[in-house]
């Protein structure tokens, strides 16, 4: 790993690659995940899923299952009066269990709770469901065709998250939401253009494959609900559960142990309402643990078709960009309306585009619901946009890097009206990536190189709190609602607390993700945690220090007493430095008590402008193509991690590499395939994720220019390196072979077809 450091100093241990704080637990098997949890009286649930893509449920006969020895409860929608069955983030359209009809093959129809999982499985086989199959649409084209089957007869209610009212247009019964992003005079841009390029790109629906499948445990006691779950956003799950069961927020406790991978797929509410409903009916704590085949049917990434048209002047400067994006969002809205918005926005940066008009439709289809997934709309649209930038370079006879340089937004410049100015020097990042690929040396015949960039409006909303407690021995406990999903928040946030308080890292304990024990954080996603929770912890540190200064004045007041002065690691009183613990002890007049710091973050002050930060993606590849088989060999993969300030460089690098390899999988192999209404590769045999032997030569440069909003200029990473990977590979293949790839993943078959198209175009 190389580092480029152009930022001011940060107090240790910020900026140091300290070992992960979850390390020993995770290498000894001691780390506890939701799936490892057991409770007294715990019962086990299994689910009956629909075999039909779209069908009315005529009747459910579960009597034999109810009588089966060891069965505690059999639950259908009819068994849950008084429960608000539909929930959802943007649109409350997702019933926790099928109500009246099923909208995708794999939808949950019946839940069985038994003494053990094997008994529940036996009972499932005794249930008879009478379905009336309906015509279905498993592609966007089918869903938008005249006379298409309608998935949702009535418009969904407003979901838990406000602000989507205008998007929920229903201009077609299968269109969930439409978002339009526009500025400038688009007609003029195309009229005056020297070059107009137009194309259509397809990005597949993908499966995140978090290795820990969705797992929840729910327990009711005295009308209060506790849920342990593999969830990224415990507070959002709390809010949905309170709504579903008509409870005050304070009556719902969501606890998140270690999470076995998230990547966005565990954002928002998944199986928690169903688990809680099963526990309610069973009168027992219930564990619902999905397997991978079930998890694939729970959430996936949005597939996309991007029609993109761009206008350039003769120097390769962008004049305008016009796009129609259609997302295949599955049977329920989940978070796709927000993915749609971000997909539209992410066609804007990182270039200066005088006129832009993007329409993004989120379309219901009879497939598993799509929601958040790492990159969040960016991988889909960046594939199209960055492919077209290379096409422009080719058409104008320019170096692809030069076309980008002429269009890149400068640091401080707003990519479009009313957003935060760009907080990165992307042109410099581009140059670093090119240098790692020896750009100026021509590649061997049959080898192609490319560098692509992206800028995502990231960070979600800056609504975050932290609590920092200073104990009488000077040690510190930090309470925060950010989840350790593997990204290293348990380590990086503790480093920030230690650095801000000037105490050794060993004296900081971080408590995370228990809504009854830690204070509010909106979410762990959008690459926001180090930046936004980091700021909340800094604010809490400032707050507690201000209190401690006041306490020092009160405790040590007197005629000749020196005025206490706040220092980095304590309070100076005359020639003596009093540690934080000493101040606590003095104020409480004994070896007890504590000081409580409050850290708030909201859309105000330094985080008033949206987005809170821009997440840069900058990736270079070198590929070789076997023309006889159509197989692409990605030989080098370069990522530039432009993170402002790497709180823990080793973990920042790890995020960049992990994101890039996930992007490689999606570009090369990953794709969920529906045939005849069913997912035909919904298992890990047929859905192929990257393996050890797929690993290219990797190079990462961490860039720290201190230009983010976070502590010491930090800003988010962990998604950026995924976003440009598909376009970089496609562009490199073009330069290696002359073939243009417009549909991911780039299977040998598709590459071979593109090679034949090239031959046909060349008259061969």
């Amino acid at each position: 790993m190389k580092r480029v450091i152009e930022r001011g100093p940060a107090p240790e241990p910020i900026g140091i690659s300290v070992p992960r704080r979850d390390g020993i637990e995770k290498v000894t098997g001691a780390a506890s995940f939701t799936t490892d949890l057991t409770l007294p009286g715990l019962a086990h649930a299994r689910l009956l899923r629909s075999p039909y893509a779209h069908a009315r449920i005529r009747s459910i006969d579960a009597e034999a299952a109810r009588r089966h020895p060891g069965v505690i409860a059999v639950v259908t929608a009819a068994d849950l009066p008084g429960v608000q069955l539909e929930y959802g983030h943007a649109v409350a359209d997702h019933p926790l269990i099928a109500t009246g009809k099923v909208r995708f093959a794999g939808e949950v129809v019946v839940g069985v709770v038994a003494e053990d999982a094997a008994t529940a499985d036996e009972a499932l086989r005794l249930i008879e469901v009478d379905y009336d199959p309906l015509p279905y649409a498993t592609t966007v084209e089918e869903a938008l065709a005249p006379g298409a089957p309608v998935l949702h007869e009535k418009a969904g209610r407003q979901g838990a998250h406000r602000g989507f009212e205008e998007d929920i247009t229903r201009d077609h019964p299968n269109v969930c939401s439409t978002f339009r992003q526009a500025w400038g005079e688009i007609e003029d841009a195309f009229t005056g253009a020297h070059l107009v390029l137009e194309g259509t790109w397809h990005y597949p629906m993908c499966y995140a494959f978090a290795m820990e499948p969705y797992t929840s445990v729910a327990e009711w006691k005295d009308g209060e609900l506790t849920v342990w779950s593999s969830a990224q956003h415990p507070y959002m799950v709390r809010d949905d559960l309170a709504h579903v069961f008509h409870l005050p927020l304070s009556a719902v406790r969501v606890i998140v142990p270690y999470v076995g991978g998230g990547y966005g797929s565990k954002s928002y509410t998944k199986i928690e309402p169903l688990t809680a409903a099963l526990a309610l009916k069973a009168g027992r704590p219930v564990r619902l643990a999905l397997n991978v085949d079930d998890a694939i049917l729970t959430t996936r990434g949005d597939g996309a078709t991007v029609q993109l048209r761009s206008a350039f002047d003769r120097d390769g400067r962008l004049l305008g960009r016009q796009a129609t994006v259609r997302l295949d969002s599955g049977a329920y809205a989940e978070n796709s309306p927000l993915v749609g918005r971000k997909a539209a926005n992410r066609l804007g940066g990182p270039y200066r585009i005088p006129a832009l008009e993007v329409t993004c439709q989120v379309v219901y289809t009879n497939t598993a619901p799509a929601s958040s997934f790492r990159g969040f709309g960016a991988p889909q649209v960046v594939f199209a946009a960055e492919s077209q930038m290379d096409e422009a370079a080719e058409a104008l006879g320019l170096d692809p890097l030069e076309v980008r340089r002429r269009n890149l937004v400068e640091r401080g410049e707003r990519p479009w009206p009313k957003v935060r100015g760009l907080d990165a020097k992307i042109a410099d990042d581009l140059a670093l990536a090119a240098a790692e690929l020896d750009w100026s040396t021509p590649p061997a015949p049959g080898v192609g190189r490319a560098v692509c960039v992206s800028a995502s409006d990231a960070g979600s909303e800056p609504v975050t709190t932290a609590t920092l407690r200073v104990h009488p021995d000077g040690s510190v406990t930090v309470l925060c609602g950010s989840t350790e999903i593997g990204q290293g928040s348990a380590t990086a946030l503790a480093q920030i607390a230690a650095g801000e308080m000037g105490v050794p890292l060993e004296k900081v304990r971080l408590v995370q993700s228990d809504t009854a024990a830690v204070t509010y954080d909106r979410s762990t996603g959008a690459s926001r945690t180090t930046t936004l929770m980091g700021l909340a912890i800094r604010n809490a540190a400032r707050d507690v220090k201000a209190q401690l200064l006041e306490w020092a004045r009160e405790s040590w007041a007197g005629e000749d007493a020196p005025e206490p002065v706040l220092e980095h690691a304590g309070i100076r009183v005359g020639d003596r430095l009093a540690g934080w613990g000493e101040v606590v002890r003095a104020w409480f007049a004994g070896d007890y008590g504590e000081a409580i710091g409050r850290g708030y973050l909201r859309k105000a002050g330094e985080t008033a402008e949206m987005p809170p930060f821009w997440e840069v993606g900058c990736v270079g590849v070198e590929v070789r193509v076997d023309e006889s088989t159509g197989e692409i060999h990605v030989e080098k993969l370069v990522t530039i991690g432009d993170v402002g300030c790497a709180v823990n460089p080793q973990l920042a690098e790890a995020q960049d590499v992990g994101a890039a390899i996930m992007g490689l999988g999606m570009a090369m192999r990953e794709e969920l395939i529906y045939e005849d209404g069913n997912l035909v590769n919904g298992n890990l045999y047929d859905y192929r994720v990257p393996r050890f032997t797929d690993l290219p030569e990797l190079r990462t440069v961490l860039v720290e220019r201190g230009d983010g909003v976070g502590v010491y200029g930090a800003k988010g990473g962990g998604e950026g390196a995924l976003n440009p990977v598909a376009s970089a590979i496609a562009n490199a293949v073009r330069r290696a072979t002359g073939a243009r790839l417009r549909e991911a993943p780039f299977t040998p078959e598709r590459v071979w077809e593109a090679l034949r198209e090239r031959d046909a175009a060349n008259g061969r």
Binding site: T28, A210, M211, G261, N291, D293, A659, R691, F692, L698
Partner: protein
């Protein structure tokens, strides 16, 4: 009542006699009957390697390996690697190289790599990749795991 059978086996060098159902997998027995939850189940179909444990020194997928087939055998799990709180060089190398993130694949990855190094104490980079190709990791992009195994080979298992 379901049919049960009695099995006897060594788990991390401790003798165990258990009455189990014949359908129970080794993962079920380790996790649910012996409380050894370090062994993780992900794909439940012998693809991902998360549940890898050693039976008589050989790697098996505990999610699909019937516990009765371990009768009389010696099983090693991730809980059996460190002794008296001292990590093995491989475990330490995983920490030093940040060879895990979420940690869900890590127990299986460690067991597969332990078996690899026992068979081939000084593997090349390609031998590590080939040897561990049956273990999936979705977080790290594999590079730090390769580095950790090579480091452990240098420092001695």
């Amino acid at each position: 009542m379901r049919e049960t059978v009695e099995i006897s086996l060594q788990v991390n060098e401790r003798a165990q006699s258990l009455r189990i159902e014949p359908r129970e997998t080794l993962a079920d027995v380790l996790r649910d009957r012996l409380g050894l939850t370090g062994t993780k189940v992900s794909c439940d179909a012998q693809v991902c390697g998360a549940c890898t444990v050693l039976v008589d020194g050989r790697t098996v997928s505990a999610c699909t390996f019937l516990a009765v087939d371990a009768d009389g055998g010696a099983v090693r799990t991730v809980e059996g690697l460190a002794r008296d709180g001292v990590l093995t060089p491989l475990q330490q190398a995983f920490i030093d190289e940040a060879a895990f993130q979420c940690g869900f694949c890590t127990p299986g990855m460690l067991m597969a790599a332990t078996a690899l190094l026992e068979e081939n104490p000084h593997p090349t980079e390609d031998e590590v990749k080939e040897g561990l190709d049956g273990n999936l990791c979705r977080c790290t992009g594999y590079a730090p795991i390769v580095a950790a195994v090579l480091r452990a080979a240098e420092t001695g298992r």
